[in-house]
Amino acid sequence: MRTHRSLVSLSIGFLTLAVAMTLSAIVGVSGLSAGDAIREVFSHFPGGPASRLAELDASLLWRIRFPRVVLSALVGSALGLCGCAYQGAFRNPLVDPYLLGSAAGAGLGATLAIVYLKDRSWVINPLPVLAFAGALTAVAMSYLVGRAANRQGRRDSSVLVLSGVAVASFFTALQTFVQQRGSDNLRQVYSWILGGLVTSGWTEVVLIAPYLVVSALVIFSSARLLDVLSVGDDEARTLGVRPERIRFVVVLAASLGTAAAVAVSGLIGFVGLVVPHVVRMLFGTRHHVSLPASALFGGAFLVIADLGARTLSAPAELPLGVITAFIGAPFFAGLLIRGVRS
């Protein structure tokens, strides 16, 4: 029964992701037909058909579009997985991976980069680096504040959540302040905040992959411990685990994954909130099932959303965060109204 649910969810998840990625890979607005795109891919296999594409078009596929499809899958998986992990660690289905201020921190980092560092050219783009650092700094501060508040002997995870709210508000205020000072960069800042994936070659994929892998490994191996946390901190203690330690490790890993995702994609909401919900509804609450399924379905969701971002309003590009909100918010409301068990 146990392995059955696990296998079913993983198979459906992989299938969905594969279909989404394939669809996204062959559809675009540059005038390339799906057929040509497929031919181009198969032309690289021995014995495959010859490609009909000019070098520019082939280059577009391999260096712009395919990396973008992979990147959207990676970012979506990271957000889905980290959202599920956060929800498990805090026993709260309403938290998202930006809970402890990582969104606000990343926003501040990105704004600082845009306002102060834009005009010089750099060996490596400072924006994702600062966004990443900002996200982790905010989470660290939330933890420190939460620890200080908890020293009264109350070892409560809700205190940590509240300190995250405080830290996030603070970082958001800072970010707004910096943004207003350098107000001719407003457009760029908003553009980043609304979320989007633009690729030039495989750089972004290579940049964030290591963090996502580490984050995922730690989270997956904490699956059983997250199940133990589900009976509450006190009962978990009597069962023989240290809830604060589990929470710390999971939050650290999930924050790493979130920070890496946000660094390249801006602030994309709803994936980390809604996908784990749906996954739990369909496949149950045990984490060894819900964690990988959240990753797979999160990836598929964002791949399709990104496909929409670059095709629906062509030749403009829709901000990715807007699309996920458009789909995610009504979906979430629908779930609540139907009153389905979360």
């Binding site: 009976v231 006190d234 009597t238 069962l239 023989g240």
Partner: protein, 267 residues
């Protein structure tokens, strides 16, 4: 099941503070290996607090020894292999089946990343059978009735293979039939596995019927400790609870505490 001989429990000078108030004061208590100690007393006497401290959830001064070993020196994991708790109001994780719930009891025995081997699963199945939960094994714990949930929680505690079983008001949410059922079950298991039981109870009759010894607490202190008939007397009940009762000793049912009604029409 544990294969270990029953363990004795000693509380030596245990005091527990909650905020600035001392809720339990310098308590000394001894539990014989394999015995059932009923912890009774009015609300606010400190019974649940004491259970919480013994479970490792509340800090305390003084010593808690299990078979002469100071529990404070143990890791949380090792402690869980010695002491199991059946809480008063257990959390019901959504989407958790009874089988998975009982399996949680194996946490202290599983390796960091392991999910439980065949031996663990077998133990869980045996426990489920013993507690007559087979027909409910795949049901969600949130769908169980009070009595069924109590059995599942006892099953989880049993799966811990601990030597000491702590129960916090095990019958407060149950009707009379299930009260009996739960307590009889715990008693059987106690004898079968050589468990030492300490149960905080509000029902004096049941406390007397099931306990080998009774500890009466009031205002954080131990008023009396001994056999049920020694401790549960009309005077002690009056002193501790302020209640008027009649204590009857019956050959068939043992000790019974019957509230004495005040007012007209009674002799």
């Amino acid at each position: 099941m544990t294969g270990r001989p029953p363990a004795g429990v000693t509380l030596h000078g245990v005091s527990i503070r909650r905020g600035s108030v001392e809720v339990v004061h310098q308590l000394h208590l001894q539990l014989t290996p394999g015995s059932w100690m009923s912890l009774v007393g009015p609300n606010g006497a400190g019974k649940s607090t004491l259970i919480g401290a013994m479970a490792g959830l509340l800090p305390h001064t003084g010593k808690l020894l299990i078979d002469k070993q100071d529990v404070a020196t143990l890791s949380i994991r090792d402690r869980a292999r010695l002491i199991a708790v059946v809480p008063q109001r257990p959390e019901l994780p959504p989407g958790c089946t009874v089988r998975e719930y009982v399996l949680l009891g194996r946490t202290a025995h599983l390796s960091m990343f392991g999910r439980g081997g065949r031996a663990d699963r077998q133990l869980v199945e045996d426990t489920i059978e013993r507690l007559e939960l087979q027909w409910l094994a795949d049901r969600f714990v949130s769908d169980l009735s009070g009595g069924e949930l109590q059995r599942a929680t006892i099953g989880r505690a049993l799966a811990q293979e601990a030597q000491v079983l702590l129960l916090d008001e095990p019958t407060s949410a149950l009707d009379i039939h299930h009260q009996q059922q739960a307590l009889e079950l715990v008693d059987q298991l106690r004898h079968a596995h050589g468990l030492t039981v300490c149960a905080a109870m509000h029902d004096l009759t049941l406390a007397a019927q099931f306990g080998d010894r009774v500890a009466l607490m009031a205002c954080g202190e131990l008023l009396a400790e001994g056999t049920p008939s020694e401790v549960i007397t009309e005077d002690n009940v009056k002193r501790a609870y302020g209640a008027d009762v009649v204590v009857r000793h019956d050959e068939e049912v043992g000790l019974a505490v019957i509230p004495r009604r005040r007012g007209v029409g009674f002799s």
